[in-house]
Amino acid sequence: MIEKGRISSFQMAIIMNPAIIATGILLVPSLTAAKAERDMWISPIWGSIFGFLIVFVTFQLHKQFPKETIIEYSEHIIGPILGKVLGFIYLFFYLHINGIIIREYGEFVVGNFLFNTPLIVILSSMVLVCAFSVRGGLEVIARTAQIFVPIVILLWLLIMLFLLGDLDLNKMLPVLEKGVMPTILGAAGPASWFSEYLLIAFMLPYLSDPEKGLKWGHLSVLSVLIILVITNLTTLLLFGDITADLLYPVMNAGRYISIAEFFQHLESIIMAIWIAGTFLKISIFYYALVLGTSQLLKISDYKPIVFPIGLLLILVAKWTAPNLIELKHFLGTSSVFYFLFMQIVIPTLLLIIRLLRKKLQVKRGTKSEAISHDKT
């Protein structure tokens, strides 16, 4: 095995938490609000179904192949050639999605704070920092997650608390005014974010207590769900109908905070904390990419390819969309099908193929036994 570190399933859950919410509370509330309007807080619940599903599917696949990541066992399931092709597709997919994430983060920072700084500087600085973390390996990522995630969540909680005085419960009424359909349409964004839980396929082989992996995976999805619902609810109760008009509603909410005329204008602190969350998200995707590449190409150690892939990531991030508007449009529409297909449909298919094959093998096995039994 290339990765020699071991993490506990609790650490895996902690890594996955910012992996979803770091950018899930940036652009997604606006996407959800555009479709679901006043019921935007219900949409993450539909999205979480995909989260639970993918955790379950990945865990079952893991039980079939305890020591391998998805890149490795896809060869076993659908044959060496197809498996390698699938592996390549997955690697390019992770390259692309990582580029999108880095680009989202860069656009956010440049658009809100450092207007004149070239985007490439922001992107490169973050990729450089993440490269150091990835070089340290899975254990280092887990440990940095354990340090930063409590801080990120604590500060998120503080933002929500500080806004309590400005919330107006009436803004969420009437509930389900236009039926359930808008919420389901609005769930497209959260669903594609929840499908990123496929990342645990890269971490499950390295757990020190794999039997708890399922439980902690589900707990992680639940925690993300709670955070997303509360975030959506808070922005809804604060901004009401104009939520869909704002590009980053949570950032605007943060700018709105004013407690006792002292705790105000806190958006820069929010940004600083956000960066920690985004760092963790980019790191784990980066790690999955690097690990997958080294497993596909059968390299003995992934450390030498970290920096070159980092360079590639910066380029993909810059190339992925010509401007923020196209990026947002992509994320609200075609990306949903793209992400869901790659991260939910394909793993489920792999599982089904595997189970079917096993059944066939068992059948053939009993048949041949029966024949040989007859002969004797």
């Binding site: 993490i7 506990s8 609790f10 650490q11 920072v109 704070f113 450092l114 700084t117 500087v121 922001i122 600085s125 973050m126 920092v129 150091f132 973390s133 340290g136 254990e139 280092v140 887990a142 440990r143 940095t144 997650a145 354990q146 340090i147 930063f148 005329e261 002292f262 105000q264 204008h265 806190l266 958006e267 820069s268 602190i269 940004m271 600083a272 904390i273 960066i275 920690a276 760092f279």
Partner: protein, 536 residues
Amino acid sequence: MARKWRKLKKLQDLLLKQEPIQAVESQNRINQQPNSQDKLATSLDTNISKLQKIYENCSDVIFHNFIFGGTDQAFLIYIEGLSNIEELNDKVLTPLMENVKIDDSTKQIDRFKTILQKKISVSKIQEVLTYPDIIYQISSGNPVILVDQMSNGYAVGLAKWEKRSIEEPSAESVIRGPREGFIESIGVNTALIRRKIKSPKLKMEEVKIGRLTKTAVIVAYIDGVANKTLIEEVKNRLNRIETDTILDSEYIEEFIEDNPYSPFPQTLNTERPDVASAYLSEGHVVILVDGSPFSLVAPITLYSLLQASEDYYNRPMLTTAIRWLRYLFVIITLLLPSVYVAVLTYHHEMVPTTLLISMAASREPIPFPALVEALLMEIMFEILREAGIRLPKQIGSAVSIVGALVIGQAAVDAGIVSATMVMVVAVTGIASFAIPHYNVGMSLRMLRFPMLFLAGFLGLLGISLGVIMIVTHLCTLRSFGVPYLSPMAPMQGDDMKDVMFRLPRWAHNTRPHLTGKYNKYRQASNLKPSAEKGEE
């Protein structure tokens, strides 16, 4: 002029031509077989002439010729100033020079031994068989007796020299708690630890490191509590060292640490025997170095470096609050100047309006941008700090007056720096001194310069990236295999009782996870005090 040049050239050639001295075989292996040519000869003249050649031009090595037992030639070799002369004369020379009547049938060596056992009233006598041993014993202050027709000498344990008295360690003073500190002499140091830990399970293994200094380095651990792999690892790393001099425990520290490029120390150094004993009982290994009052503790985590010994001698609630304050100090030391620069330069909306206006007003006459001003003040502060250490005590107070008046007031009045910047730098400096261990404080202080630059270039984004890089580095760091940031990451819930808080003593049932896994329980579990329990 030309002649001078030619002379220099000649000297240079000579030096370059000189053959490098063959490295003397290192003498720090614990179990090493003695070389055959080092053994003492039977003839006294051979031995003495050889020793005199070795100690050529050493005027402080005394070779004293006397008659042993009334009949034999003998030499007494010792170093002036290192041995106890009165005892030497009384207890050794006087009895040995007496006429001793023993049967002729006894062998010479038996005669020798009998005389020694009967006559010399010194409790520590060691037999020496090789020249290196003799040299070591003489250098350690133990006089050596060589007798004719004997191929073994005896070293008498009469080492005594002037040493510092035991006083309160200056770098780790406490308000409440023991005030003893280690001194330079290793015998006294081991004694201090032995006084605290009376169990025979406290093992002290000795290694001699350093070709020239042959420093005695003692590895202390408690058998049955400390992890055996850890002990092996420490001993292996010590045995690897091949160098000329070991003058301080810092030399050892540099040779055995996990990551020499990290700004953070991976062993703890302490001058206090109670701290060393506490760590020993938790399963750590303590390394004592002769000639240095600072002992090394391995392995450690970042949190050990942020604890003061006084934490354990004061009430738990107070200590918990002070611990949290200390973590705040760490953040202030690292981040305050950079945050100030970042907010002033990039994030003007963060400052409350009235404060912003008054800061703008105070910065009107300042010619420098915020980053340059911050760097200037920080460097000034570092100069003051270094100067304060070097100056003799009498001028020390003058320095503080100069610092306060000149730097503080006059610079502000002259319009070179703004008042808020002086305050920021002063608060940072004081916060960094509040960190108990000096070396961690230094690391953090040095790290704030790169953070200043990052803040100056990218604002709060730069600071975030800097903090992330430091945390990532800390997460990759290990001290003798123990992750540097445990018990926070990887999380050990049980150990948080000593990191986040200081739970009362009756709650500390188990030893910390990573060193004390071997022997988990250290006290009974029902020790919480209350009024009723006293009646049981």
